[in-house]
């Protein structure tokens, strides 16, 4: 069986330098409108929007969101550093998250992770977070419980979810990345 993986709608690789289009502005306005009581509530939705569009949240994103919501930049940055989903540097075009929590670990998540690491030729990084391949094609990190313990081990590749990913399926997934 061969599966072709698409990048999906989530951009993990950047660069953060893209144009801020009117469509993006419109999306932001719509998100802010969901919080009629306090625009500050829109920080997280805007962070998601920015990260999905530009791949990661750098100073430019923080500045843009702070200005949009009339907040101090630190009020935006403190969320980027608190919530594990947000990243401040680009990851690979195909970003893999392997669940490492107990039920997945009992199901062999460690072997899946090791297989993926080998297939992507990744070396443990010097800093926290994901390992990124030299060509920027792949990145890999452990994630905490992804809430599908009955089909362990589970893997998220960008915004696509995969169940029962043993070493064989891991090979297929990496092979299918186009």
């Amino acid at each position: 069986m061969s599966t072709t993986l698409e990048v999906g709608t989530e951009n993990c690789a950047g660069p953060e330098t893209g144009e801020i289009t009117p469509a993006l502005e419109k999306q932001a306005t719509e998100l802010i409108a969901r919080y009629p009581v306090s625009a500050r509530s829109a920080v997280m939705p805007l962070l998601h929007l920015w990260q999905e569009t530009f791949g990661y949240i750098g100073p430019r994103g923080v500045e843009w969101i702070a200005a949009k919501l009339s907040l101090q930049e630190i009020q935006v940055l403190e969320l980027v550093t608190f919530y594990p989903w947000f990243r401040q540097r680009p990851y690979g075009k195909f970003h893999f998250r392997v669940c490492r929590t107990l039920p997945c670990a009992l199901g062999g998540a460690g072997k899946t992770f090791a297989a993926l690491q080998k297939l992507m030729r990744l070396k443990p990084g010097t800093h926290e977070g994901a390992m990124v391949s030299a060509d920027g094609r792949f990145s890999l990190e452990y994630s905490e419980c992804l809430a599908s313990c009955g089909t362990a081990p589970v893997v998220l590749c960008n915004d696509h979810f995969h169940e029962k990913v043993d070493e064989k399926k891991a090979t297929e997934l990496v092979g299918g990345c186009s």
Partner: protein
């Protein structure tokens, strides 16, 4: 066999031909109960929920009717908010995922009914962002419901207005704690709030009265309105009414999600009959019965449980692990908890040091860092367990672990402290010999399995 499923919330889950669009939901009678609810009125719905004795399905098991009764929509001058807690993050739990991915309109109908009952005009669905497809499914379902007139202004000409929006989390377990969730929804770090006030019903979102309910709880509201509170209370057992979604993972032949009346079956029946027993012909060693925060139960244990006999008198009896009834009160009496319904099973080949090290690594990663005993303590737990697991344990490490854990529980703003301490306290006490043996064979400690349980 006594172990037949009773599918209420999961009635249409995985049924062939059932799809998650509104047309399919309506074909199966969907939104009919909303019409009934709008007709009988808010106070009547609240009354039925109270009569049903429904207990919250998120983990704490707090009576939903009581939670709602803290707010009187006729007296409060502030707006009332309702938040659906769809941040399902407790390791071992994957029930809400099934509802969101396969039957989103059931959740919406329950949520709209609950909002109507409590005079809520604006509600949010706080969903974890790891449900990368789930939040899009909910957005689409909301759009469909809006188009069909079940949301927005003047719902079904009843004069009632309601708007619901999806709000995505960003990978933090602590957002499942209701006051942390509220902070997060306000656009801040998810630091749980100091209690009192104990309930967001007093001061919640934007300092207004707020109800936070789990996905499964809100779905149950729909069924309560449909069948009436008294009829619902007849399912299950007294004080443990209704059905429960059980998620089984780990070393069983058929892991998965099942729905049973609360307390209808024992732990042994769940593992052996429903899930086909322990896989690979192995033996049962340990079970975590209610998500990873619950205290571990050891195979062969016998518990002294007090319960009402047929003559109404309280009597104490001895119950073995496999004969424990799966309900809120029995598991609490056995020293653990029913929690979120996530049952994690470990067979006799599993190394308890590694299992606990894995769990503690989770809590070390997820502590929000607000309270010192938790922020510092969980890191030490992870560090000490890690060194035992790789063969550098010290003789007094088990005692040290227990001491650190004891100093976290009860000294934090939210229940995360207990959640992090309970696994350590229970594993160390119940598997003491295994910890000592692992430390005794230091240096030669096997690192073969650690690859799958540690990182």
């Amino acid at each position: 066999m006594a172990c037949r499923e009773h599918r209420l919330v999961f009635k249409n889950i995985d049924v062939r031909g059932y799809t998650r669009d509104i047309a399919c939901y309506q074909k199966h009678g969907g939104y009919g109960i909303l019409k009934k609810g709008l007709a009988i009125g808010g106070p009547a719905i609240r009354d039925e929920v109270k009569k049903s004795q429904l207990r919250g399905r998120g983990g704490a098991g707090f009576p939903t009717g009581t939670k709602w009764s803290f707010i009187d929509p006729t007296k409060t001058t502030k707006p009332i908010y309702l938040i659906c807690n769809a941040d399902e993050s407790e390791p071992g739990t994957f029930k809400d995922r099934q509802i969101i991915y396969k039957d989103p309109h059931q959740l919406l109908e329950g949520m709209i009914l609950s909002c109507f009952a409590n005079g809520v005009k604006l509600a949010y669905l706080y969903i974890r962002c790891e449900f990368t497809e789930g939040w899009k499914i909910m957005e689409k379902a909301l759009e469909e419901a809006r188009t069909a007139g079940f949301l927005g202004k003047n719902i079904l000409s009843s004069g009632y207005d309601l708007e619901i929006y999806v709000h995505r989390g960003a990978g933090a377990y602590i957002c499942g704690e209701e006051t942390g969730l509220i902070e997060s929804l306000e656009g801040k770090r998810a630091y749980p709030r100091i209690k009192p006030p104990y309930f967001p019903a007093v001061l919640g979102l934007y300092m207004c009265p707020t109800i936070v309910n789990n996905v499964e709880t809100l779905c149950n509201v729909k069924h309560i309105v449909e069948m009436g509170g008294e009829a619902y209370a007849k399912i299950g057992r007294p004080n443990n009414t209704g059905t429960r979604l059980l998620c089984v993972s780990g070393d069983v032949v058929r892991p998965g999600y099942y729905e049973f009346p609360v307390g209808a079956l024992t732990l042994g029946q769940l593992i052996n009959d429903v899930c086909g027993g322990i896989r690979n012909g192995n033996r049962l060693k340990a079970v975590i019965p209610g998500g990873s925060s619950a205290k571990v139960l050891k195979a062969g244990e016998v518990y002294k449980i007090k319960e009402k006999g047929l003559d109404g008198k309280m009597m104490e009896k001895e119950v073995g692990l496999e004969d424990l009834r799966l309900d809120f009160d029995t598991l609490a009496a056995a020293g653990s908890m029913a929690g979120s319904g996530g049952v994690i099973v470990m067979d006799h080949t599993r190394d308890m040091v590694e299992c606990l090290a894995n769990i503690s690594a989770f809590y070390a990663h997820e502590s929000c860092g607000q309270c010192t005993p938790c922020r510092e303590g969980v890191l030490w737990l992870k560090k000490i367990l890690g060194r035992i697991a790789v063969g550098h344990g010290r003789e007094d490490d088990p005692a040290l672990l227990k001491e650190v854990a004891d100093r976290i529980a009860g000294r934090t703003i939210c229940a995360f402290g207990e959640a992090a301490a309970w696994p350590v306290q229970s594993f160390i006490t119940k598997f003491k010999a295994e910890f000592s043996a692992r430390i005794a064979r230091n240096g030669s400690a096997s690192r073969r399995d650690t690859i799958s349980l540690l990182h």
